[in-house]
Chain length 406, copies 2
């Protein structure tokens, strides 16, 4: 006899994303309150393991001591060890020993599902610590303290974690919502310009996909952002994070079971360029190039009106973001050559699975999905971008027609 | 300025659990239909990687060829390689190289989120392959084909996977619902008696917690089950799986964020006994002892009426399940001695986190939670069980009073 039971498991994940400043100063209640609850409490003060990006420890030499002082004043919490430093940047995701060290610390200090791992750092460190935390005991509580523009407005507010394997970015990972995200804007002040600016490419991306008013605001404030105006950055980070969070909660596919990944605009090229550059190129910088490429492709293709294309490229250039890098030009005669950015199309399809699905724009705030891209047109788009970058053109002369390609 | 966004992510997981027979016979449409959909399909025939427990391959020497023949007849599916054999039993979960081999195969054969890994085997193999599948690309589709009573009625129908680390059972793992579960009763026919019977301890457990009618049925059919009556086993597996599935979907805590784990009746001792025995004792056998221990403790404590205790112990003995093993008796004078089963109480608390929470019974179908257990009373319960086992008493003389302990 054949029988079937259809199992339905509804789950709702809830977590706060706070925007604040000086999280570890003694009088700050936010961190203490975040760790106190909600949720059932154990018999003992919850244990806390703190993992910090070495780059952050170098930029803020007092931070480790400040964290220890903060917890020493909280009788209801138990910092199990001095903050554990880990190498920052994409390379920490490619070294399995680093995940192993986090697991060892979680085990040695008795961190359980009701205890906390606090991860302080850039997106790569948060991805890596997040993976370690999500797999230990099937998930210990993770509090993310992102310290870069890119992680505060994008990667750290979401539900993913990952490390690299088989030479492939994010090959290993899980979907695991954090316990809380604490965005401390004070960490942004010491960023290098390239990281301050690079993170804005995700803000531009989400504005282009979802919010024309936010694009207008970015266009109007691009010069201020490039000049490191902190209030402008506060708004850019908040609105970008908010749009990402709305997308995740409202998409109907937060764990990406489908083929479509609407937020990955410009990302097929970006992932490939990062890898081709040996991660010299940072994610935000690569995304800027990816946006420029896909917008130029769409304009050449007639999908995107040239006026909109010009506005988008102007914003990228006003923000000081490169729209062309040498990795774009290598090996493009053969789309199956792994040194060619074009091979990123198939790698992008493979990672998500199913049919190739690429978001493009028909206008600002008007995404559309396509399932193939013309390689010749992509090569022409790359040439346009190379010329643009070489000319250091003033934004006003960004005309596809003036490039002689339309 | 401080701001907070409260993120809410609703997710609903859906998967079928089928009960069938002869899954890989050429005319069987179930497997083909399971892999065809639902879900967006790629441009190509979905890829399928099949991983099979070595023990199953030994018991069914034709299986590997049968699987290849089945897929050869399906133009819409692409078996990427001959079935990959992996060692079975708990030890496969303790060897990180085995997970690594699954990851390598997933990578080498281009298994993506829209492709399938089929895992055929006992609970340990399904746990281990499930962990590999859940972490590759943040989760490729897993079809579980459990081949033991215990996995068909319990572990394989749920949402967990795991491997062992740091010498601790299930230290690494994730919550990841499968794509489908295919329970093929033909696999049960070649099981050793100890595996046929051991799996029934989970059925007894869930009946004791949730369904007095199912307990009555088990009591009436214990002799038939012990005599390997296949129809009785079909019902026992189906009803046990159904009760587990209902618990997971209706508990409100499918991913176990709270301290309470109501289904883990008898499991604090079971986990420890498995480990103390070096996994000579199988999970179902250990659960039988754990149930006997916690019921005897509750009876000595006055929580559980003696008549109910007698019925439960009678069922265990009619099923031929041991209620005492030598590992119960070692080191019990010191509850912190890791060789003592009593140290399992704290390990159980640590794994789940928070406060110690143990389900006990006040009657059949009447669970209650307690937050501490008296070590002296546990030692007395162990003595009762040791005497019972040594006497090979007929069930009718299972009296606590006759043991002189009440």
């Amino acid at each position: 006899m054949n029988q079937t039971i259809m199992q339905v498991v509804p789950v709702t994940f809830t977590y706060p994303v706070h925007f604040t400043e000086h999280l570890f100063e003694p009088q700050q209640a936010l961190l203490r309150d975040t760790l106190a609850g909600p949720g059932p409490s154990g018999d003992h003060a919850p244990r806390v393991l703190c993992v910090v990006d070495d780059g952050v420890l170098a930029a803020f030499p007092e931070l480790a001591a400040q964290i220890q002082t903060y917890f020493a004043a909280q009788p209801g919490l138990r910092l199990v060890a001095p903050p554990l430093g880990v190498p920052g940047g994409e390379r920490c995701k490619s070294d399995p020993d680093v995940v192993g060290r986090i697991h060892e610390a979680i085990n040695a200090h008795g961190i359980d599902r009701h205890a906390y791992v606090i991860a302080v750092g850039g997106g790569a460190v948060l991805d890596m610590v997040g993976y370690a935390a999500a797999t230990a005991h099937r998930g210990v509580r993770l509090v993310r303290v992102p310290t870069t523009v890119l992680s505060q407005n994008d990667s750290a507010v979401g539900v993913k974690n990952s490390v690299n394997a088989f030479g492939k970015k994010n090959w290993l990972g899980t979907f695991a919502p954090p316990h809380a995200v604490l965005n401390d804007r004070a960490f942004l002040t010491t960023l290098e310009d390239r990281d301050w600016l690079g993170g804005l490419s995700e803000a531009l991306k989400v504005a282009l996909l979802k919010d024309t008013a936010f694009f207008d605001w970015l266009e109007a404030n691009a010069a201020a952002l490039a000049a490191r105006d902190r209030e402008a950055m506060d708004h850019a980070v908040y609105r970008c994070a908010e749009l990402h969070l709305q997308h995740i909660s409202g998409s109907g596919d937060p764990f990406e079971r489908g083929s479509s990944r609407p937020l990955d605009f410009g990302h097929w090229a970006a992932h490939k360029l990062e890898s081709l550059s040996g991660y010299r190129l940072r994610h935000g910088e690569a995304v800027a190039v990816g946006i420029a490429l896909d917008c130029t492709y769409a304009a050449l293709n007639g999908l995107l009106p040239e006026a909109a294309w010009r506005r988008i490229l102007n914003v990228l250039r006003t923000l000081g973001l490169a729209v062309y890098v040498p990795e774009l030009g290598t090996g493009t005669q053969d789309a199956s050559d792994p040194r060619s950015v074009l091979s990123g199309l198939n790698e992008f399809r493979e990672h998500l699975g199913g049919r190739l699905t690429i978001p493009l724009l028909t206008g600002i705030g008007q995404p559309v999905e396509v399932h193939e891209m013309d390689h010749d047109l992509l090569r022409r788009a790359i040439t346009v971008l190379e010329d643009l970058q070489a000319q250091a053109s003033s934004p006003s002369v960004l005309h596809l027609h003036s490039q002689g390609v339309l």
